[in-house]
Amino acid sequence: MIRGKKVNLVAAGPEYVEFYKKWINDPVVVDMLGVRNYPISAEREREWAERQLEPTDDRRQFTILTKRGRPIGNCGFNVIDYQNRFAVLGIMIGERELWDKGYGTDALEALVRFGFETLGLHKVCLTVDSVNARALACYKKCGFVVEAVLREHRFHRGKYCDELWMGILEDEWRARARSAPRAR
C-alpha cells in the first residue's frame, strides 16, 4: 500500500471490477481521458481487472481508496522505463462527485513520491489534453511543468486540441518535498 494524506493506493484487481466498470462507462469521467471507447461489458472489464494481477515491471495500476476504504479511482504508471529512469503516469478519479476535493492531487503526490523514493526514477511525466483545465491545475499543483506542446494532436468533442507533455525532475521534486510535510 502506498500511503497519501487523504488516500491510499492499493494494487488494482478483480475485487474492484464493479467500480472500474462504472467509471470507465461514465461519459463525464472519460470525456477528458485518453481513452475513446465503446460501452465496455462486465466480461471485458473483468478481463482487464484480472490482467492487473500479472506481475509487470514496466507498468502498474493502483486503485485509489479513501482513508475509510472507499474506492474512488485508479492511477498508475503506464510506462516504467528503468534504462532512462522515467515513468509516465495516468490518473482518474472515477467518482466524479468527489472531484475538486483534493483527492486527485493527494493520490498523484503519493504516486510521484513512490516513483522517486522507491523506484528511484529520474523523471516522472504525463500527457494531458490542453482542454482538461481541472487536470492541468492538479498537475501544476503537484509541481509538473509543461515540456512540450503537440499541436492539434488529440480529437476531442469534434475538434482537434493540443496535447501537453508535462514532467517533474528528481531534483525539482526533492526541493519541493523538503518544504512539504510527509504523509503518514
Binding site: N25, V29, V35, P39, E43, R44, F155, G158
Partner: protein
C-alpha cells in the same frame, strides 16, 4: 463509455440481455423487417446468450443495449460493425422492441451514436442497409441526417419473393451541420 441521451443510456450488450433479445427478434412483426439479416430461424434465449458472448469478443464491433435512463429497462439493441479504421467508416444497425416504436427512441438512439462516432471516435461516414419497404426505419434515419446512396436490387428473399434494400449514409460534416 456508455452513450447517454435525454431518455436513454446505451450500455454494453450483456449475456443477461439474452431473454429480452430473443423476445424481440422472435416477434414476427420485427422479424418481418429484418429479411436481409442473418436471422432466419426462431432463436431461444440460450442460443441468444451464445451469440452475445461470441459477438462481444469480436474486435471491430460494438454491440450495445438501448436502455431507458429511468429504471434501466432494455428496449432494443444497436450495433456498430465493419469499422474500417483507415477509411473511418462504420456500419450501424438498430432493432427496438415493438412497444417502444414511434416514440422517437430510435431517432434519439441513432443520433446519440452518431454524435459519439463523429465527435469522439473521429469517424467520417456511417452507413446502413434497410429494407426498401421499411418506411418507419427510413424516416427515422432521414431524421438523423442519413440520405440514400442507392439500391441493392433483390438482395434478399422474404415473404416468398425477392426484395430490395436501400443503402443510406451520413457524413460527419452533414451530421454536424444538421443542428445549424
Amino acid at each position: 463509455m456508455n452513450i447517454e441521451t435525454k431518455r436513454l443510456v446505451l450500455r454494453a450488450l450483456e449475456p443477461e440481455d439474452a431473454e429480452f433479445l430473443a423476445g424481440v427478434v422472435n416477434d414476427p412483426e420485427v422479424r418481418d423487417l429484418l429479411g436481409a439479416y442473418e436471422l432466419v430461424f426462431p432463436v431461444g434465449p440460450k442460443a441468444e446468450a451464445k451469440w452475445i458472448a461470441s459477438v462481444s469478443a469480436r474486435e471491430g464491433e460494438a454491440h450495445m443495449t438501448v436502455t431507458l435512463r429511468r429504471g434501466g429497462r432494455p428496449i432494443g439493441i444497436l450495433s456498430v460493425k465493419d469499422m474500417d479504421d483507415r477509411n473511418a467508416s462504420a456500419h450501424l444497425s438498430i432493432v427496438l422492441e415493438r412497444p417502444s416504436w414511434d416514440q422517437g427512441f430510435g431517432t434519439e438512439a441513432v443520433a446519440g451514436v452518431l454524435d459519439f462516432l463523429f465527435n469522439r471516435m473521429n469517424v467520417h461516414r456511417v452507413w446502413l442497409r434497410v429494407n426498401e419497404r421499411n418506411v418507419r426505419a427510413i424516416r427515422c434515419y432521414e431524421k438523423c441526417g442519413f440520405s440514400r446512396d442507392g439500391i441493392l436490387r433483390e438482395d434478399h428473399f422474404e415473404r416468398g419473393c425477392w426484395a430490395s434494400s436501400i443503402i443510406m449514409s451520413v457524413l460527419a460534416d452533414e451530421f454536424r451541420g444538421r443542428g445549424r
